[in-house]
C-alpha cells in the first residue's frame, strides 16, 4: 500500500540518520495501534490475531531525533511456525534494531515475558510496553511496574493505546536512549547447555546473539535452514546437524518442549511476584456475547443475524439506496450530462469525445461504474466488515465453521482469509500467511480465487439478486457454496499432505472504536480507488478500441458458442465477461447495467451472476497470487477456475431450462 514511502523511509534509515526500532510482541496486543500513534501512519488494526502479515515501516522525530519504526506480525515464540511469524524473526535476524519495543498484553504478563526472555537471549535491548492496562484492571490484575523494572532491568511502560495513555512516557523512554538488554538469562538442562557450548563457535554472525541461534537450532527450528545455507559453509552445517542430533538423543523429552518449559517457569516466577490480584469487574456483557457467539446452538442464530444485518446494510442500503442515488441521480442526471456538454463544447474531435463520454466512455462508463456503483458498495461493506473485525467476532466464526472447513481439507482458521476475501481477495491472499503449511495455503488461495466474491462484486451481485427473488438468491448461494465445497473437497484429495490441526487464539469481544472503523474504512476505500479505477479505465479503453475497430463484434461472434450456446446469454454479455478479465466486479457491474436496462431475463441474470462470481480473479489478485504462491501455481489455478466458472454456469443454465425453473 505504501511501497513508495516505505522505500524512502528505508533508504533514509540506511544512510544512518535514523535509529531503527522494531515493534515485537504476541498477536493482537496492539502493536499496530502503537505504531500508528508513534509514526502517524495508519497500519490496519483489528481485533483478531494475524491482522498484520507483513512488515510496515514508518518514521517519526521525537525531540529532534529521527527514528524508523518497524511494525511486525505478532509472534508467540521467536521460533516461527507460519509465514507471518517467520517475517518477524527474519527482521530480528537481519535488521539490527537499536532497540526492540516489545508490546505485550498487560493481562497476559506470563506470555509477554516468554517473548522478553527470548529477546534477552538474543542480546537485544528492549523497552517493554504493557498495553491494554484498562482490560487488565477490569479483570483485577494489577502489575507492580517498578518491581518488574528491577527484576528485568529494563524500562517498563504501561499504556492504553486507543486513549493515548502512557504514550508520553513511551516517547520519553525512546528519546532518553538508555536502552538495556533484559537480565533474564536462563540456564537450561546441562545436556542442552553442553550442546550450546559446542554450537557457539559454529554460529555465523547475525543481528542476534550466537547463544540464541544455538537455542533455535537445538529447539529444532526448521525455518532457519535457508538462512544457514546462505550464511554458513557446508561443512559447518554438517557439524551443526551432528550436534543437534546428539542433543535430541540425550534428552528424554523433545528439546523444544524442555526449553519452552524452562522459559515458562521463569516467566511465571516473575509474573507471580509482580502481579497483584483484586476482584475484577466489568466486561460481563461483552463476555456474554462472546460465549453466545461460539455456542453450538445459539451461535447459529447469531451468525444468521450477523449475515442478515450485513445484507441489509450492504445489499439493500449500499447497493440499492446509495447506488440509486449516486449512479442514477448524481451521475445520470447531473454529472454525465454536464461532462458530456463540457466535452462536446471543448473537444472538436469526435473520436476523443466518444472515448470520454460515449458508450464505452472513460467518464460515462468507467468512472460511473467505479464511483457510482462500486464505491458506495465497497464503502458500506468495509464499514460493516470493520465493525465485525474490531468486535472480535471473526475468530469465533472459525470455531463455528471448523467442521465445514474440514470437508475442504482445511481448519477453521482458514475462515479468516476467506472472510477477508469477501472484502478484497488481493488482501486475503496475503492473509493466507497465517496458515501453517504450504498445502493449506495452496488450497485456501485456490478457493479464494474461485468462489469468494470480493465486496465490490458481492455488492453488485446482491443488488441484482435483491431485484430478482428470494429463490434466485437461494440458487445463487447454493451454487457458489456447492462449487466451493466440492472443489475444496477435490483439492484436499489432490494436494498432497495432511490437514493442519485447528489452533486459534480467540480475542475478547470488544466494542469497536468508531474512530478506527472510520479510519480503516477510509484507508481501504482510498486503496480501492487507487487500485480499481486505473484498471476500470484500462478495461474501458480496450473495449472502446475494440468497438471502434469493429473487433468487438468479431469477439462476440467468436465467443457466442460459449456465451449464447453454453450459458444461454445474449451476445452483448460477452463485454461484461471481457472486462471481467480485468476485474470481476467490473464485469458484474456490466451485467448490473444490462439487467437495469432489461437486457437480461431473470434466469439469464442468475446464470451470468453465478458465472461471474466464479470467474477468474482480477488482475491485482492474480499478481498477488503470483507473488505469494508462484507463477506456475497462479496460471494453472486460473485455468482451472476459468473452466469451472463456464462449466458451473452452463450446468445451471441447463438445469434451469431442463426443469423449467423460473426465478
Amino acid at each position: 500500500m505504501h511501497t513508495h514511502e516505505t522505500e524512502k523511509a528505508k533508504a533514509a534509515a540506511a544512510s544512518g540518520k535514523y535509529r531503527r526500532i522494531a515493534l515485537i510482541g504476541n498477536p493482537n496486543v496492539g502493536k499496530s495501534v502503537i505504531f500508528g500513534l508513534l509514526t502517524g501512519k495508519y497500519a490496519t488494526v483489528s481485533n483478531y490475531p494475524g491482522t498484520t502479515v507483513e512488515v510496515a515501516y514508518g518514521n517519526a522525530a521525537i525531540e529532534g531525533k529521527k527514528y524508523l519504526f518497524v511494525d511486525t506480525p505478532g509472534v508467540n515464540s521467536l521460533i516461527p511456525m507460519s509465514e507471518d511469524e517467520k517475517v518477524t524473526r527474519d527482521i530480528l535476524l537481519g535488521e539490527r534494531p537499536s532497540v526492540v519495543l516489545q508490546v505485550g498484553d498487560a493481562k497476559n504478563l506470563k506470555r509477554t515475558l516468554l517473548i522478553t526472555i527470548q529477546l534477552a537471549e538474543m542480546g537485544l535491548p528492549v523497552i517493554l510496553v504493557l498495553n491494554m492496562e484498562d482490560e487488565a484492571m477490569d479483570r483485577g490484575i494489577i502489575i507492580a511496574k517498578d518491581a518488574l523494572k528491577s527484576m528485568t532491568g529494563i524500562e517498563v511502560i504501561m499504556t492504553v493505546a486507543p486513549e493515548k495513555k502512557g504514550l508520553k512516557e513511551l516517547r520519553a523512554a525512546i528519546s532518553k536512549g538508555d536502552y538495556r538488554t533484559p537480565l533474564l538469562n536462563i540456564k537450561y538442562n546441562p545436556h542442552i547447555e553442553e550442546c550450546i557450548e559446542k554450537l557457539l563457535p559454529l554460529m555465523p554472525d547475525a543481528g542476534i546473539s550466537k547463544r540464541s541461534l544455538a537455542l533455535m537450532v537445538v529447539s529444532g527450528d526448521e525455518s532457519l535452514r535457508g538462512w544457514f545455507n546462505a550464511n554458513m559453509e557446508t561443512s559447518a552445517i554438517e557439524q551443526v546437524e551432528a550436534v543437534r542430533a546428539e542433543c535430541i538423543l540425550r534428552m528424554k523429552q523433545p528439546v523444544g518442549m524442555a526449553i519452552s518449559g524452562d522459559r515458562l517457569r521463569r516467566a511465571e516466577e516473575i509474573a507471580e511476584k509482580v502481579i497483584k490480584r483484586v476482584p475484577g469487574e466489568g466486561g460481563s456483557f461483552s463476555s456474554f456475547i462472546g460465549r453466545l457467539s461460539m455456542h453450538p446452538v445459539w451461535g447459529i442464530p447469531l451468525l444468521l443475524a450477523v449475515l442478515f444485518g450485513f445484507y441489509e446494510f450492504v445489499g439493500v442500503f449500499g447497493a440499492g439506496t446509495l447506488v440509486d442515488f449516486l449512479e442514477e441521480t448524481i451521475f445520470g442526471k447531473y454529472l454525465n450530462p454536464m461532462f458530456t456538454k463540457v466535452v462536446e463544447t471543448l473537444i472538436p474531435f469526435a473520436l476523443i469525445r466518444d472515448m470520454l463520454v460515449g458508450q464505452y466512455g472513460l467518464i460515462t462508463m468507467a468512472l460511473t461504474y467505479a464511483i457510482g456503483i462500486i464505491l458506495p458498495i465497497t464503502t458500506t461493506f468495509f464499514i460493516a466488515f470493520s465493525i465485525l473485525e474490531d468486535s472480535g467476532y471473526l475468530p469465533r466464526l472459525a470455531i463455528m465453521s471448523d467442521r465445514v472447513f474440514n470437508i475442504m481439507g482445511l481448519s477453521g482458521k482458514a475462515v479468516l482469509p476467506m472472510v477477508l476475501g469477501l472484502g478484497c481477495g488481493t488482501m486475503a491472499v496475503m492473509t493466507t500467511r497465517i496458515l501453517e503449511s504450504r498445502r493449506d495455503r495452496a488450497i485456501a488461495a485456490f478457493l479464494l480465487a474461485l468462489a469468494v466474491p470480493c465486496s465490490a462484486q458481492l455488492g453488485v451481485i446482491l443488488g441484482m439478486l435483491a431485484a430478482l427473488s428470494a429463490k434466485a438468491m437461494a440458487i445463487w448461494i447454493g451454487s457458489v457454496l456447492g462449487v466451493l465445497l466440492f472443489s475444496g473437497f477435490l483439492a484436499s484429495k489432490i494436494v498432497p499432505g495432511e490437514r493442519t490441526e485447528f489452533f486459534l487464539e480467540i480475542p475478547p469481544i470488544r466494542k469497536p472504536a468508531l474512530r478506527n472503523v472510520a479510519v480503516k474504512t477510509a484507508s481501504r476505500a482510498v486503496w480501492y480507488l487507487k487500485e480499481a479505477v486505473p484498471l476500470f479505465m484500462l478495461g474501458t479503453f480496450i473495449l472502446f478500441i475494440l468497438d471502434k475497430l469493429s473487433i468487438l463484434r468479431v469477439i462476440e461472434r467468436f465467443a457466442s458458442p460459449v456465451i449464447v450456446g453454453v450459458l444461454g446469454l445474449p451476445p452483448k454479455a460477452t463485454e461484461a465477461f471481457l472486462i471481467g478479465f480485468f476485474r470481476r466486479d467490473y464485469g458484474a457491474a456490466g451485467l448490473f447495467a444490462m439487467s437495469e436496462k432489461g437486457l437480461l431475463t431473470p434466469e439469464q441474470s442468475l446464470v451470468s451472476l453465478v458465472t461471474i462470481t466464479l470467474f477468474i480473479p482480477c488482475l491485482a489478485h492474480l499478481l498477488m497470487t503470483i507473488k505469494e504462491m508462484g507463477l506456475r501455481y497462479a496460471l494453472s489455478t486460473a485455468a482451472i477456475i476459468f473452466s469451472t466458472a463456464i462449466l458451473a454456469g452452463g450446468a445451471l443454465n441447463f438445469a434451469l431450462r431442463f426443469f423449467s425453473i423460473a426465478v
Binding site: 519452552s260 470455531i399 471448523d402
Partner: protein, 222 residues
C-alpha cells in the same frame, strides 16, 4: 485371552538370584490361588525348581502341608505387590505405549520400580481394576484413596466436563510447540469452556480454540 499370559516363567526358571526367583514363584502362586487351591506340583510345573519352592517355605513365605500350599502373611503381601506391579506394567504398555509385545518387559519392570513409581503409574492410569488379560490388579493405597473420590485422576480433555478447571499432566498432541508458546504445558491450569463445535480452553487470560485431535492429546487432572 487367558492363554496369552505367561507370567514370567521363562525368566523365573533361568533366574539365579534367590529373591528374583522368589518373586516369580510368589507371582505364580498368586495366580494359581486366584483360580482355586494351590498344589505344590502345579507350582513346580510352572517354575521347575522344587528345591527352591521348598526353600521358600523355610524362609516363611509360604506354608506347605502335604501337597497343598498357602501363603504366610509375609508371603501374601509380597506376592500381592509383585503381581500388582506386573499387571500395572502391562496396562501401561498396552494402554499408553500401545505395544503388542509387552510380557517380557512387564516381567523386567515389575522388579525395577519403587513403590512411589508404582503409585504414580497407577494414578496416571486412573487406577485400573484389571490387567489387559482381564485379571484383577490388587489394589494399592493410592487406589483406596481414589475410590473415595470416585473420579479417575487423569483423563484427556474430551472426558472432562464443560466448565471445569484442571491441571495439565502431560501432552502428547500435535502442535505441541504452539500449545507451549501460549503457556499450555504440563503443570498449567486450564478451563474447558466448551466442546462443540470446537474445543475452547481458557489458560490464564488467554482463550484458545482447538480441534478434537489436539484435545485428545491433552491429559489433565481435575
Amino acid at each position: 485371552m487367558e492363554n496369552i499370559e505367561q507370567p514370567c516363567r521363562k525368566v523365573a526358571s533361568s533366574g539365579t538370584e534367590k529373591s528374583h526367583f522368589e518373586d516369580e514363584a510368589l507371582e505364580v502362586i498368586w495366580e494359581l490361588a486366584e483360580s482355586g487351591e494351590v498344589r505344590l506340583k502345579d507350582i513346580v510345573k510352572e517354575v521347575g525348581n522344587e528345591e527352591g519352592v521348598i526353600g521358600m517355605s523355610k524362609d516363611g513365605l509360604i506354608a506347605v502341608s502335604e501337597d497343598k500350599v498357602a501363603f504366610t502373611d509375609n508371603g501374601r503381601a509380597r506376592a500381592r505387590d509383585i503381581t500388582r506391579r506386573h499387571r500395572l506394567a502391562e496396562r501401561l504398555f498396552v494402554d499408553v505405549l500401545d505395544l503388542k509385545e509387552f510380557e517380557e518387559d512387564a516381567c523386567r519392570l515389575e522388579h525395577a520400580i519403587s513403590p512411589e513409581v508404582e503409585e504414580a503409574i497407577c494414578t496416571f492410569l486412573g487406577h485400573p481394576p484389571t490387567c489387559p488379560h482381564g485379571k484383577a490388579i490388587p489394589r494399592g493405597n493410592c487406589c483406596k484413596l481414589y475410590i473415595k473420590k470416585v473420579r479417575p485422576l487423569v483423563q484427556s480433555l474430551p472426558d472432562l466436563e464443560v466448565g471445569r478447571s484442571a491441571k495439565v499432566v502431560f501432552i502428547n498432541a500435535p502442535a505441541m510447540d504452539r500449545l507451549a508458546s501460549i503457556g499450555l504445558v504440563p503443570g498449567a491450569e486450564v478451563k474447558l469452556l466448551q466442546k462443540k463445535p470446537s474445543y475452547v480452553l481458557g489458560i490464564d487470560e488467554t482463550t484458545v480454540a482447538i480441534d478434537e485431535d489436539i484435545a485428545k492429546g491433552i491429559y489433565v487432572k481435575p
